[in-house]
């Protein structure tokens, strides 16, 4: 099966029902996308498919072929992704860091559709991403600052 990931076309030999998450992690060695629940409940596995944030743990590879897939390894090539990654570092957002790739992917999708999100917008967009360490206040601050910086650049 052929998948287009971070602009590259890659071959994966796996069962059709294999979730994109496990194709990325086990078959392609791209472990930045994390496993957290397997049911689309925690957001650790968030990637972009044609620009939308999707949970790769419940997205079979058969549904992702022919689409543009972006992962945490590639999101830095987009202005929103790059800026958010910088904000995450500048504000020392992570604690254990495990959920943060998914958080950044959800945040990047948010800023793409809503360049100046309110607190309520952030709540709604980020509600599907669990952080057990409790980094939410800094995630919120990093999204606001990222939005501000992207606004200044444009």
């Amino acid at each position: 099966m052929e998948l287009t990931i971070n602009g590259e076309t890659l071959q994966v030999t796996a069962a059709d029902d294999t979730p994109l998450l496990w194709a990325l992690r086990d078959h392609l060695g791209m472990t930045g996308t994390k496993f957290g629940c397997g049911m689309g409940l925690c957001g650790a596995c968030t990637v972009h498919v044609d620009g939308e944030a999707v949970r790769s743990c419940v997205t079979p590879i058969s549904a992702a072929t022919g689409k543009q897939i972006v992962t945490i390894e590639g999101v830095g090539a987009t202005p929103a992704g790059k800026t958010l990654q910088e904000m995450w570092v500048a504000l020392n957002v992570p604690q254990c860091g495990y959920c943060q790739p998914g958080q950044i992917m959800s945040a990047a999708a948010l800023l793409r559709s809503n360049p100046k999100p309110s607190d309520a917008d952030i709540d709604a967009a980020m509600q599907g991403n669990i952080c057990r360490c409790g980094t939410y206040p800094r995630i919120r601050a990093a999204i606001h600052q990222g939005a501000e910086q992207l606004g200044e650049k444009s």
Binding site: A14, A15, D17, T18, P19, W22, R25, D26, H27, G29, T31, G32, T33, K34, F35, G36, C37, G38, M39, L41, C42, A44, T71, I72, E73, G76, Q85, E86, W88, V89, N92, V93, P94, Q95, C96, G97, Y98, C99, Q100, P101, I104, D119, I122, D123, A124, M126, Q127, G128, N129, I130, C131, R132, C133, G134, T135, Y136, P137, R138, I139, R140
Partner: protein, 768 residues
């Protein structure tokens, strides 16, 4: 992973063993001048890091290397699970080394306590135990660089000093970078410990200043950080395991035909049952090994397994709660007694009684347990996100029948720990499976269902409290009966009482001045694996004590803050032993008394900053709680808003915190922020229940944790400043958590008049 690039600073130096040997030859009590780590001769009590298995090391050759390019590599031997230890340990060494943080790299030590000192990353003690040894590492290496420069210039070493990655000769203005000096410095002997010149606090560049970023920040943001679950080896197989749903249960029989028919499945193996107690042994189960994780997960569903439940097959949370209630209403083993509780109650003007319940809680680390193992030429190598590297290595050696020296445990980043990853059952599974597969590399991944249903759960507890008030509303009598299965149950056959370390977490060491006190611990048996969860027994004890203190204030018609301060009474330093606390977090009672002045100060600070007493709209309230734990002092004031439908939102939390000197203020803040959010989650949502011995929750839809929208909108942190570096360090990772649930419930009482005594709050307020 642990290989050090470049040149070693130093070529030998005194090993700790040699150092201890030289000391013991002196006999009697030996103090290391000016350093907080006290070494005692035999027969004298040891505390802190000295009392931990394998103690500590401060050998710079072990912990740092400097390359010819000037790059400093620092070895961190404690596990990183989000508390920031890879930044904290490194910045301590870097500061005393007078290094430039931008030229510092961090690498992780494998399990080897003989070399590094104790590696059990729990108990909020990494910085407390290793601040002094890590400072000495940095100072020793700095001294060697200064000596090398002085020798090269032919000047007295007293005329040179290290300055931001260079050594400077003040008189001539000559300078040499650390890279240029590393080779010569590495040939010098490590200077004796008592000759080291440590920095004055005013000279600290990174300690306490917050001028470093996170060691792993850029890697995490880029998705490059590698956790246990991310390990990949050539030719690796992937395994998931179906485990007995009941503690002590085992596989009766299984049929793997359908699973084996799925393309990609390599083997199906039984993991044998073990005799109780559970310890860290793998649970009885059936492992499916396949070419990828998804195939293994699918094939596991196709297994047909009959389980034999064993003795705990009737464990039922509802019935067990009833049992705990009954037990808590009768006298139990006496732990502490002052005055005469019964007589004082008989004369009390007013009597108050309440029971508080805390259910089992699961750690639910975002990275579920996972580990990878292989065996090559009789040597086993394991990669695991473990908080307990040495125990992991020992237990794997025992499980495989191998020598300790033939097992290597690489410690990866932990995607959350909270105590779960102190128990290496998952790593032993990986090693066992690799052995069964002829040494082939295999990764075991736990699914979320596995994690929630086979955790070492936070204990379930019933806390029964009674108090008598005099005519002025003052508390004159206090009874606390705490009933909870003990963590010791995973190590010993059927213990029924809380261990000293559990009693010392806010039960016996109640810091209130009340003339008649009685603290009891009736019996409770464990029917599942009980384990350390962040803050451990402080969570139920603080929930009960700090809720009850608020109930007494309300009964007396008094302001809660004023009443709490009166309960604590004047500032004084209490000997923990006088409170029947023989444990005191493993620290000296002289160095670490219970300081009620510090407890009062965090309460005064949190209430002042929160605007205690301010007018609030209807449905809003402020709640206060304070707790001493892990040798630090925390007070929280939570503002809640409760809607007509009983929905709780938290506009603001103020936390005042005193952990003594602050080494990494940003990570202290992040730990407190996280503790508030975890505390809100366990108060509002989290509950693991059992029926027929089986856990009823299996994923985040029915085991809920705090999400962004339910998090407090504003968390204001007030770190109590200290310029006094003689104050010994307190813990940071855990003490933020215990006051949160009682502060929240006290706020709900202030807002609604409804008293929550059973967690989680769940739907208790709807229809209120």
């Amino acid at each position: 992973m642990s290989a050090l690039p470049g040149l070693f600073v130093g070529s030998g130096g005194i090993s700790r063993r040699e150092f201890l040997a030289s000391l013991s030859a002196l006999g009697g009590l030996v103090l290391v001048a000016g350093l907080p780590g006290v070494i005692r001769a035999e027969g004298i009590e040891k505390y802190g890091a000295d009392a931990m298995p394998h103690g500590w090391s401060d050998d710079p050759v072990t912990f740092l290397a400097i390359g010819e390019d000037g790059l400093v590599t620092i070895v961190v031997h404690r596990a990183e699970m989000g508390q920031g230890v890879r930044t904290g340990m490194a910045l301590i060494i870097a500061d005393e080394l007078e290094a430039d943080w931008s030229k510092v790299r961090v690498t992780q030590a494998p399990a080897d306590e003989a070399k590094y000192g104790n590696q059990d990353t729990d108990g909020s003690r990494s910085t407390r135990h290793f601040f002094a040894p890590m400072r000495r590492c940095g100072a020793a290496a700095r001294t060697m660089l200064e000596q090398a420069a002085a020798a090269q210039w032919g000047v007295p070493v007293s005329e040179v000093h290290a300055d931001h990655h260079e050594v400077v000769h003040g008189k001539s203005g000559r300078r040499l970078g650390y890279g240029a000096l590393a080779g010569a410095a590495g040939k010098l002997p490590v200077p004796p410990r008592d000759s080291l010149r440590l920095k004055e606090p005013a000279q600290f560049r990174y300690i306490g200043t917050g001028k470093t970023g996170l060691a792993d920040g850029p890697d995490i943001a880029a998705g490059r950080a590698r956790y246990g679950i991310d390990v990949r080896l050539e030719g690796m197989l992937y395994a998931v395991v179906a485990r007995t749903p009941v503690l002590g249960g085992k596989v009766a029989r299984f049929d793997a035909a359908e699973a084996l028919a799925i393309p990609g499945v390599v083997r199906v193996l039984e993991i044998p049952s073990t005799a109780p107690p559970a310890k860290f042994q793998p649970l009885s189960g059936v492992a499916v090994v396949a070419g990828d994780t998804w195939t293994a997960m699918k094939a596991r569903k196709a297994l047909k397994i009959e389980w034999e439940d064993g003795a705990h097959g009737s464990y039922d949370s509802v019935a067990y709660r009833g049992e705990l209630e009954q037990v808590a209403r009768k006298p139990g083993t006496l732990l502490r007694e002052e005055g005469n509780f019964g007589a004082a109650m008989a004369e009390a003007t007013r009597k108050v009684e309440a029971e508080y319940y805390l259910p089992h809680i699961a750690h639910a680390t975002m990275e579920p347990p996972a580990a990878t193992a292989r065996i090559v030429e009789g040597r086993c190598e394991v990669w695991a996100p473990t908080q307990a590297p040495q125990v992991t290595r020992e237990d794997i050696a025992a499980q495989l029948g191998m020598e300790f020296d033939d097992v290597t445990v690489h410690v990866t980043l932990l995607g959350g720990g909270f105590g779960r990853k102190s128990k290496p059952d998952f790593a032993i599974e990986a090693a066992f499976l690799s052995q069964q597969l002829g040494g082939r590399p295999v990764k075991v991944t736990w699914t979320r269902e596995d994690d929630l249903q086979h955790d070492y759960y936070h204990t379930v507890s019933m806390e029964h409290l009674e108090a008598g008030l005099d005519a002025q509303g003052r508390a004159v009598a206090w009874l606390h009966r705490s009933v909870a299965p003990t963590i010791v149950a995973i190590f010993a056959p059927d213990p029924k009482h809380q261990a000293p370390f559990e009693q010392g977490m806010g039960l016996v060491n109640l810091p209130f001045r009340i003339p008649n006190v009685r603290i009891e611990n009736p019996e409770a048996a464990a029917h599942t694996r009980i384990g350390w969860f962040r803050s451990v027994s402080n969570v139920p004890h603080a929930f009960a004590v700090q809720s009850f203190a608020a109930e007494l204030a309300a009964a007396a018609g008094r302001d809660h803050r004023d009443y709490l301060l009166e309960l604590i009474s004047p500032p004084r330093r209490i000997d923990p032993a006088s409170l029947q606390d023989s444990w005191n977090y493993g620290e000296s009672p002289q160095r670490y008394p219970v300081d009620t002045g510090r407890l009062r100060r965090v309460i005064e600070t949190a209430t002042r900053e929160a605007g205690w007493g301010r007018e609030l709209p209807r449905g809003r309230g402020l709640g206060l709680a304070a707790h001493y734990s892990f040798l630090s002092y925390t007070a929280a004031v939570i503002e809640v808003a409760v809607s007509g439908q009983g929905e709780v939102t938290i506009p603001r939390v103020d936390v005042a915190f005193d952990c003594g000197p602050q080494i990494d203020p940003d990570r202290i803040r992040s730990q407190l922020e996280g503790a508030v959010i975890m505390g809100v989650g366990l108060a509002m949502l989290g509950e693991i229940t059992f029926k027929d011995g089986r856990v009823q929750q299996d994923n985040f839809h029915n085991y809920q944790v705090t999400r962004m929208a339910e998090s407090p909108r504003e968390i204001r942190l007030h770190l109590l400043p200290t310029d006094d570096w003689s104050v010994p360090l307190g813990g940071v990772g855990e003490p933020g958590l215990p006051p949160i649930a009682p502060a929240l419930c006290n706020a709900i009482f202030a807002a609604t008049g409804k008293r929550i005594r059973s967690l989680p709050i769940g739907a208790q307020l709807s229809g209120a």
